[in-house]
């Protein structure tokens, strides 16, 4: 009954004069505007909306005009089951407030709806019970709270820089912001759809550990890096990688663009793929090397060179290649003549190909054989000794 009556009053909800005009002011009141006297419990916005999951705070004011200090005990009445309420003043939860003459005390009403709360309008009252002078009086402040329907669980995945440019050898590092716009903590799985041969790895923040899923708290966001490695031999062009995030209820995706620029790469291969060969000291020997462009752009002005120990003769043919298209091969002949005085054993020769921005070298191991001339001289020495023996046998034999 009392509820219904008080709900009708609009802005000044619970302002009731405890006393009539005081005798002290009676004389002056006639001359000026009549002095307002009383004790009120008010709020600025008695009817309001709140989002599901938001913290609800309602500001309350306790005003005293021209009255001696009043002690008011506060309580909340009419809240549905499961709702929690707390009245704060001066940074602490309070049960009662004391308001001095011509003072206003600001209070906060914090409401926490249960997780299971349904959308709708909730009406309740804040009650202030005056204790002491004028005891028994109760101020009632009706409040109406409309709770919006909870938003559906939602994930967002936003790349900071969705378009990156680089060579086939570079690593494309996309920074993504993953936000969990729902009421529940969740675990988000990450996945990517990339062209064949592209490798995508996810890391969290600046960590180095690769992840496939990560937990995100309700309403929180995390920074995720998607590192994309194109295959080494990828052709120049635009590539698109789609990264997706999925929790148990929601999913999000983002498109990442890779602009791969071409780059030449030179590969050197020895004869029949081997990096060793043999040669005889002082004799010329040909080795056929293969120069190939394994990159994705033409290589220009390749110069070929072979470094051998001093005293060796090395000739490279051709010495320069003006242009080498991707996947093109060119045979290069290296003529090696080990020095006359080279000692038998293994030697290193390095073959280099240098071009604009590309270079490669191959270490070629040459086993040097020495000539067998000394062997023949040794045989001659033995033959001479045998001839001496033969002379001895002829002269003194068969005695």
């Amino acid at each position: 009954m009392r509820h219904g009556r008080t709900l009708l009053s609009a802005l000044v909800v619970a302002g009731t004069a405890l006393f009539a005009l005081s005798p002290l002011h009676a004389g002056t009141a006639a001359a000026e505007t009549p002095q307002l006297t009383g004790l009120w419990l008010t709020t600025d916005y008695p009817e309001r909306n709140a989002d599901f999951g938001d913290a609800i705070r309602i500001g309350l004011d306790l005003m005293n005009k021209n009255l001696p200090p009043q002690r008011v005990e506060l309580s909340v009445d009419g809240l549905p089951d499961g709702w929690k309420s707390e009245i704060d003043g001066g940074g602490a939860a309070i049960e009662a407030a004391m308001v001095g003459t011509d003072r206003t005390v600001s209070l906060d009403l914090h409401l926490t709806p249960p997780k299971t709360a349904k959308a709708g309008t909730y009406a309740f009252e804040v009650e202030g019970k005056v204790v002491g002078q004028g005891e028994g009086r109760t101020m009632t402040l009706p409040v109406k709270l409309t709770l919006a329907a909870p938003k559906p669980a939602k994930l967002t995945l936003d790349p900071k820089l969705p378009d990156l440019r680089g060579t086939a050898k570079s690593s494309f590092d996309f920074e993504l912001t993953l936000k969990n716009e729902s009421l529940n903590d969740t675990v988000v799985n990450l996945a990517a759809a990339a062209p064949d041969g592209f490798e995508v790895a996810f890391t969290e923040g600046y960590g180095s550990q690769e992840i496939t899923s990560l937990p995100v708290k309700a309403g929180a966001s995390k920074t995720v890096h998607a590192k994309v490695h194109p295959p080494q031999n990828v052709a120049a062009g635009h590539y698109q990688v789609q990264v997706g995030a999925q929790s148990d209820v929601a999913k999000a995706s983002a498109n990442l663009e890779l602009d791969v620029t071409g780059q030449p790469a030179v590969a050197l291969e020895g004869p029949n793929g081997m990096l060793s060969g043999s040669a005889t000291a002082g004799e010329e020997r040909d080795f056929t090397f293969t120069v190939a462009n394994s990159g994705s752009a033409p290589a220009h002005d390749l110069s070929l060179r072979a470094d051998a120990p001093s005293g060796w003769k090395v000739k490279v043919d051709p010495k320069t290649l003006p242009e080498l298209q991707p996947d093109q091969q060119q045979k290069v002949t290296v003529e090696v003549t080990p020095g006359d005085k080279a000692v038998a054993g293994d030697y290193m020769m390095s073959v280099r190909a240098n071009g604009k921005g590309v270079s490669n070298s191959a270490d070629f191991r040459i086993t040097v054989m020495t000539s067998t001339m000394w062997g023949i001289i040794g045989v001659v020495v033995i033959l001479i000794a045998l001839m001496v023996l033969a002379v001895g046998v002829r002269r003194y034999g068969r005695r």
């Binding site: 120990p309 000394w374 001289i377 034999g397």
Partner: protein, 317 residues
């Protein structure tokens, strides 16, 4: 007066009889016991040393021959010292012993020439030395397989066979020297002493003598660095007159496959070279070939000296 028929009639009979005599003689027994015992000791020491080595070696079996453990020298060190002794023990009284026992005239009364007698004695001694060296080699390899638990690789066997041939040639030189001296001197004691002093000269004193001789012949000129090279070359060539030095060089070339040269090596020749890589077996053979041919020629020449000396002797009953 020329005589008819093959000079080699009865050669094999004499060689086999000579070898059989050697194998049953007490002096051979002592000499072989000495060599085998030292060989077992040095190889056992080498295996102990190899087992503590962590590094991987592709030529582990060759290390068996060359690894020395204090206070024992390596197996090849022993051999280069003791093989001449065995050869001298076999042949120091080969000719003059027959005179001493007054059996020479009886021997030559058989239908054989002196050529066959001398060559048979040489070949008989060589046969015994061959048996001795092969036994030693098998002993070492067998101990290696047993205690190291590894079979030798193909190249190690090849190099081991090369080591056999070289060792046989080295002992053959000393056999020929002892044979020559035994026909040169009438008394076995004199020839034995002469052979032993030659052995001492070549195995102990020769390395001390050659620097002195080379220093006198090519004095060092501080203003001409070429004299240092010439002096070293001369010293090296002089030292190569000793069969022991030749044997040591050949063993280095064969048993250390990374040896690239036995002589002086200039820095410019080693530029770009991969130090420590093993040479192919054929190249190692090429390196030791001059030494080997010198050794074989030495055998032939010393044998010829002994032959001429023996053929010119008068044999009386």
């Amino acid at each position: 007066m020329r005589r008819e028929g093959s000079p080699w009639t009865g050669l094999s009979t004499i060689a086999v009889k000579e070898a059989a005599d050697h194998l049953t003689s007490a002096r051979m027994l002592f000499a072989m016991a000495l060599v085998v015992l030292t060989a077992i000791g040095s190889v056992y020491g080498a295996i102990g040393q190899l087992k503590t080595t962590v590094g991987e070696d592709p030529f582990l079996f060759l290390r068996l021959f060359t690894t020395a453990q204090d206070p024992l020298p390596s197996f090849v060190g022993f051999l280069s010292f003791l093989l001449p002794l065995v050869a001298i023990a076999l042949a120091f009284d080969a000719i003059n012993g027959e005179y001493q026992r007054r059996t020479m005239s009886r021997l030559l009364a058989q239908p054989i020439y002196r050529d066959a007698l001398l060559a048979g004695k040489f070949l008989g001694g060589l046969l015994v030395l061959g048996i001795c060296v092969v036994v030693l080699w098998l002993l070492v390899t067998g101990m290696g397989i047993l205690l190291l638990g590894l079979p030798p690789s193909g190249e190690e066997i090849l190099r081991g066979l090369g080591f056999l041939v070289v060792s046989l040639a080295f002992s053959a030189v000393w056999l020929a020297i002892a044979l020559w001296l035994s026909s040169l001197f009438r008394s076995p004691a004199t020839s034995a002493l002469a052979a032993l002093s030659l052995w001492l000269l070549f195995s102990v004193f020769w390395p001390m003598l050659t620097p002195l001789v080379a220093g006198v012949l090519v004095p060092l000129d501080p203003l001409n660095p070429m004299t240092a090279i010439q002096q070293f070359e001369l010293q090296h060539n002089l030292s190569r007159l000793s069969p022991n030095v030749l044997y040591g060089e050949m063993l280095t070339g064969l048993l250390h496959p990374s040896t690239r040269s036995l002589g002086i090596l200039f820095r410019s020749q080693m530029e770009g070279a991969l130090v420590g890589t093993p040479l192919p077996f054929s190249q190692s053979l090429l390196i030791i070939w001059p030494d080997f041919s010198a050794l074989v020629a030495g055998i032939v020449v010393v044998f010829t000296l002994g032959y001429v000396s023996f053929q010119r002797q008068e044999v009386r009953a």
